[in-house]
Symmetry: C3
């Protein structure tokens, strides 16, 4: 190294005092969905919906090609907002009104904007506060198929950089963003029945019973793969990938180890629920609210369950119906000597995730 250069260390991301209601971030990067990204994330989570696995099936339903599942659209869009919004966050508190619009295909390029709609200090901790943002993802900006892919709000707990800094506290109304799920036409002439063996036989609209809780039968153990998965999403938050940072100051970090990016259990729970509730959906309409209730670490095994909350018609689409469900994610932890009703002796069941969900589901009467 040459003699004593001047050392520069840029701060990345924003801190609590940097946010101001009304402020808009046009996020860096943008991301084109490649077949590599598509495969990695569609499949690691055991997504079963053939719309995202079988090109002939997707096309026969009126999609242009393999459909990027909502969980992957969310991962790509959400991750674009991390550097500006949550690189210096302690926790992501809540997902609100996450709505899906245009279908996303391999080759589409997604770019995201975020508007700050609320800033408030933490009542208990002076070095923390809550930032409320609204983000909107568009695809193929400037192209003939430019369209809104999804929009959502989230509340995130962010650190101050300077504990004595003044906050731009306040709250404004969210924008009214046009974003309704695009659905392919139902064409009576098409032989949909010839494809019906490719999806679950018992997850048609007619099969759902309000008031049932479906415990999905499979679990999936997460490994240190989460570091790689998070990096290829461009999620730059250091708590997911910088072990030395944690080793140098373990008390500051949950569990003294790398925490898995919340988007991972989010899509994993969607995937685990897929054979029972998602396999015959043409798409997810909205996630009204969602939250992470416990951290996930490498070595944990994720399980999921779905409670069926409601069913109703989808106006103008006799071939489809709307299923409202609540998706739960959980893991089991050792609890020597203890015994809990919902877990084997010596173990306890910990809820890690919850998501309220509305899906547009095919009717057996029209498709099978």
């Amino acid at each position: 190294m040459t003699d004593s250069p001047r050392v520069v260390r840029k701060l990345t991301g924003n801190f609590l005092e940097d946010f101001e209601p009304g402020q808009v971030f046009r996020h860096k990067g943008g991301k084109t969905v490649t077949e590599g990204l598509f495969t990695t994330f569609t499949e690691f989570a055991m997504t079963a919906n053939p719309l995202s696995k079988n090109q002939r099936y997707a096309r026969a339903h009126g999609f242009k090609g393999l459909l990027v599942p909502p969980g992957l659209s969310m991962l790509v869009a959400f991750s674009q907002t991390v550097e500006d919004v949550s690189e210096n966050a302690r926790a992501n508190l809540e997902y609100i009104d996450m709505r899906f619009g245009a279908p996303v295909y391999v080759g589409d390029t997604i770019e995201v904007e975020t508007k700050v709609i609320g800033v408030r200090p933490s009542s208990s901790r002076p070095n923390l506060g809550i930032v409320h943002v609204q983000s909107t993802a568009r695809k193929n900006i400037g192209g003939i198929d430019e369209s809104v892919v999804m929009t959502w709000q989230r509340k995130v707990q962010v650190y101050k950089h300077d504990d004595d800094a003044e906050l731009h506290a306040g709250e404004i109304a969210p924008d009214d963003v046009e974003c309704a799920l695009w659905l392919p036409e139902y064409e009576p002439g098409r032989d949909y029945k010839a494809l019906s063996h490719l999806s679950s036989p018992d997850s048609w609209f007619e099969d759902f019973e309000v008031g049932t809780l479906i415990e999905h039968s499979r679990g999936r153990t997460m490994t240190s793969e989460h570091i790689h998965l998070t990096a290829i999403l461009d999620n730059t938050s250091q708590v997911h990938c910088n072990q030395t940072m944690i080793d140098l100051n373990p008390k500051q970090y949950v569990g003294g180890q790398l925490i898995i990016f919340g988007g991972i259990p989010f899509v994993l729970c969607l995937g685990l629920s897929s054979p029972d509730v998602g396999d015959n959906a043409l798409g997810d309409i909205v996630y009204a609210t969602g939250r992470h209730t416990a951290p996930l670490f490498a070595g944990d095994t994720v399980f999921a369950a779905s409670e069926i909350l409601g069913k109703r018609d989808l106006p103008g689409r006799p071939d489809l119906g709307i299923v409202s469900s609540r998706l739960f994610g959980h893991k089991f932890e050792r609890d020597e000597g203890a015994s809990h009703e919902d877990a084997p002796p010596g173990w306890k069941k910990t809820k890690i995730f919850e998501l309220d969900r509305e899906s547009a589901v095919k009717r057996r009467s029209h498709y099978a």
Copy 2:
């Protein structure tokens, strides 16, 4: 969660008593081979054949593009059958008459059907029995290039769900499935020699000597990556990815840990053998029989060897010959204090895999 919903837990997969000779499964899902899947599996196994690595080389040989290697076709097709056939299996006992047909390229969609041709109880263990199935994979169903990609039989040891259930025991003849390896024409006008430096210099048909055992020089250590690899194949068997299930009942599971999906060492052994026996093959014709002889776990290192069993002409193709070989996979395990002829002191050599194989191999006389 709302007040006491009715809890539903679907059983996935079939149990011994569910199988009946003559029964046909049209498997769910189907799978389009993306470039992501292609890269992950073609290369993790160190496959060296340029037909699957170098597009200009593949096209110059008369293929439409990069060729999906037989091991990957097998992984994709086989995995489609797991939920119906072996999700509740204890072990996969044997591969029989696995034959390859049409070439598979990125973008092709593979769908699989399976016919049950035998069911019998285990002599020793009342809660187990053996199911014998015949599966056939087609690509691009309904398309102009619809064709049979591969067909195979396997015997699998499956658990009963109810120990007292009656079995549909019996055996029927397998179907006669048309499936012969497609080979591109040899065009004397083409300058094949200009490409010959891209493959091994000593694995032409003329180079093989019957009665030699080639110990392939490389080994490959498997990691917990196997969980991700298995998931992106849609192989849903829980013994490969659900550590909590095993921790709750370790005695029931081999080694009390996640076992690596047999398809992984299958392709890894093919890949390790590739520079010495596969590099100048235009394709594998048939795997007459194969079996896993010991489990593989994360941390194990896989080695391979090939015994050359025979050589013969390929009728109508003077440019090619058929090489018959037996592929062996093995690993080394510590065995303190012991000394074995085929392993260093304190170690023992364990055979994990065996496969009888016939390949269509290029002759130096025509290609180099």
Copy 3:
């Protein structure tokens, strides 16, 4: 296995005595860059330059599509040379005059040739010596866009196979290989400014100050993923993927464990530096010299810093300037009880990598 077949074990790669100045290797395989490979490597390293992430951005700058970043071109091209040049190497000593030429896109096929330009024995160790080679990578040979992608020299420390073998010692002049960075035209009519929010706001040519050392803010922990990453590059060197080989003879191998392929920290350091120095570069022109100064193992966290050494105009391109920088990679290791100026108490900072670099960087005056 049949009765006592004749056992054959091929040696792979070359040993010190096999190399001779003037000798040329046309390497096997060749490699087509798939979207799977592109995603895996562009993103695991946290590369931030939108030219490699955002297709609309890349096209608006005059590239045909997503641009393969220099680090990935290097990994693909370099790995093609491993079997012939360094499969039996102890260490890669130095990268010299690594220059980039034509842009690489998904779908391009890269093939590599290497010429031996020097061989000399090790002064200290009779079983070792240094081989000096010059490699050149071309894309799409025989196609209308055939072109040189990159060229470089390296010095590598190689083992002898037979300690008493005679060496072909000597040194010849490197070839004069035509390889200058291709740059898209600057088109005054284009609205580049409309894209400027997609890259870093403070890494334009005007922003760099000679004599500053930028400590890049992020770190990335490597895991056993490196085995998979190295395999899919076709890097066959056993020290990266064969744990049993090391367990059988731990003293012979650095740290008695698998060592991470140097190409991995190479691209990781480039990626970590990307937001601060690479984000607004149209390309890297040359890496004059580079070396690995300490080994990297699974579990280590990689950090990077860039010293700005110089700035100058790029003749004929008023929209661009050349930034000379030195890229440093380092990791922190525990050093109980010790205290070092450049590390927290109980830790020491270890330099792992150093690379001299010249980049063609956009000027704010023309692009923002």
